[in-house]
């Protein structure tokens, strides 16, 4: 199942490289919701998060031919793009408006919209549960430092200032946290 899934995604990407819109639609159906959730957690804005998702898949459409399947997993590649695009927008917004962005917590009270594909819903829920379990094993201070870097795009100095820690302590917490997370996730592959 795992091998088949990886193969399917590789095959999808090859088809996207040949400008096959049906393949892009299939990749979108699989990943758009989680990419949107990541963007929304950082930006707290539906409009900005939608733009990020559009940017990510537009980039995939244009650059799929250059993607090296041997270098990284496809979901890792997508998450790197979404994070980069999200943080670009976050920094631009912070510079331009100087206003506090709406809290992602506001979205928690809204009902979750199920997708049209119940199988994808179940797979996504399983992945989420697995990662949340792994993250829960981290000491709070390590999780906090990693999430400030990942979702808020703070630099090491900014994290140190926000948490009232030395730079060295921040580095250590991030390093130890990621190392533990890697072990907790083990050889897990998204199914």
């Amino acid at each position: 199942m795992k091998i088949e899934s990886a193969f399917n995604e590789a095959s999808l990407l090859k088809r996207i490289a040949q400008q096959d819109q049906a393949a892009l639609a299939a990749l979108y159906d699989r990943y758009a919701r989680i990419l949107y959730a990541v963007a929304f957690k950082s930006l707290g804005s539906a409009q900005e998060s939608e733009e990020v998702v559009l940017d990510v898949f537009s980039q995939v459409w244009r650059t799929a031919a250059n993607y090296d399947l041997t270098r990284s997993r496809i979901d890792t590649w997508l998450f790197m793009i979404v994070r980069s695009r999200t943080l670009d927008r976050l920094r631009r917004l912070q510079r331009a408006t100087k206003i506090a962005l709406a809290s992602a917590d506001a979205a928690k009270s809204q009902p979750h919209q199920l997708s049209d594909d119940p199988i994808e819903d179940v797979l996504l829920s399983e992945r989420r549960a697995h990662v949340l379990t792994a993250i829960a094993q981290l000491p709070e201070e390590q999780r906090q430092a990693i999430e400030l870097a990942y979702y808020k795009g703070l630099t090491q100095l900014e994290i140190a200032a926000q948490l009232g820690l030395s730079l060295g302590t921040v580095k250590t917490r991030i390093r130890l946290g990621l190392s533990k997370l890697r072990i907790a996730l083990g050889t897990w592959e998204p199914s």
């Binding site: 539906a46 939608e50 244009r62 998450f79 979404v82 943080l87 990662v131 997370l181």
Partner: protein, 257 residues
């Protein structure tokens, strides 16, 4: 920091979270490029960082976003180029954060913006010219091949004014579709080309393209022998871009003998 002071295992997690300065980033990339073990190590750490994304709580998402994506993909290249420039500008500003802040005079910023726009316009013009030239050259090259197959395309009652040609280069396995007066499709729709061999009950998918009423040249690539040989008829239908590869939409053009 000297090379001797650096440790891959310490810097790689910070690299994966984009927390390193340019110098350390480059060093990590060089190490990974020089050692497959370190490249694998880095990919594992990046996958771990990527997996954090799965912890984000699902939130409601607009149902028309996919349609907007395909609408965006069908937009002219100029918009895409401008959009592409923004993240790069933001990225360069982000990299600049680590260095002392320099304040450029206003006139320099305005001048820079004008120069950037002029460059974009020039780039777009060049891109279009290059694209048109390449399209023309590929058609000429295809017509010069001894085994080239040429079809005349005519519009059906769904596109009565449409006309065009299909040039197939079996050697390079390319199909060039030239159309005139084929209507612009709404977002999320695309034209699909099908080959119907003699005696076959189902057409074979050969590729898809978008069209502009003022004339379009679309080059498709398909290694399927059915698409690269002489068949009894070539068909073009209007379909949903995300539909399975089975003809279900209106037949808008077909080849004539």
């Amino acid at each position: 920091m000297n090379n001797e002071d650096r440790c891959f295992c310490e810097l790689a997690p910070l690299y994966a979270l984009d927390l390193l300065d340019e110098q350390d980033q480059t060093w990590i990339e060089q190490q990974a490029a020089a050692s497959s073990d370190l490249a694998t190590e880095l990919a594992d750490i990046q996958a771990t960082v990527g997996a954090i994304s799965y912890s984000a709580e699902p939130v409601p998402m607009a149902t028309d976003l996919k349609d907007r994506l395909f609408q965006r993909l069908s937009q002219p290249v100029a918009t895409e180029l401008v959009r592409d420039l923004r993240p790069r500008q933001a990225e360069s500003q982000r990299l600049d954060r680590s260095s002392p802040r320099r304040r450029n005079p206003k006139w320099l910023q305005v001048g820079g913006a004008i120069a950037t726009l002029a460059l974009i316009a020039l780039f777009v013009d060049n891109y279009r010219l290059r694209q048109t030239t390449q399209e023309t050259q590929s058609v000429i090259a295809a017509l010069q091949q001894p085994d080239t197959i040429l079809y005349t395309l005519r519009g059906t009652e769904k596109a009565t004014n449409a006309s065009g040609s299909l040039v197939i280069n079996p050697t390079q396995k390319t199909l060039t579709v030239l159309t005139q007066n084929l209507p612009n499709l709404p977002s999320g729709q695309t034209y699909r080309l099908w080959a119907m061999p003699k005696g076959a009950t189902k057409p074979s998918f050969c590729g898809q393209f978008n069209s502009r009423t003022n004339g379009t040249t679309s080059q498709l690539s398909n290694s399927d022998a059915v698409c690269n040989g002489a068949v009894s008829q070539m068909l073009i239908t209007a379909e949903s871009a995300t539909a399975p590869l089975v003809p279900a939409g209106d037949l808008v053009m077909k080849s004539v003998l």
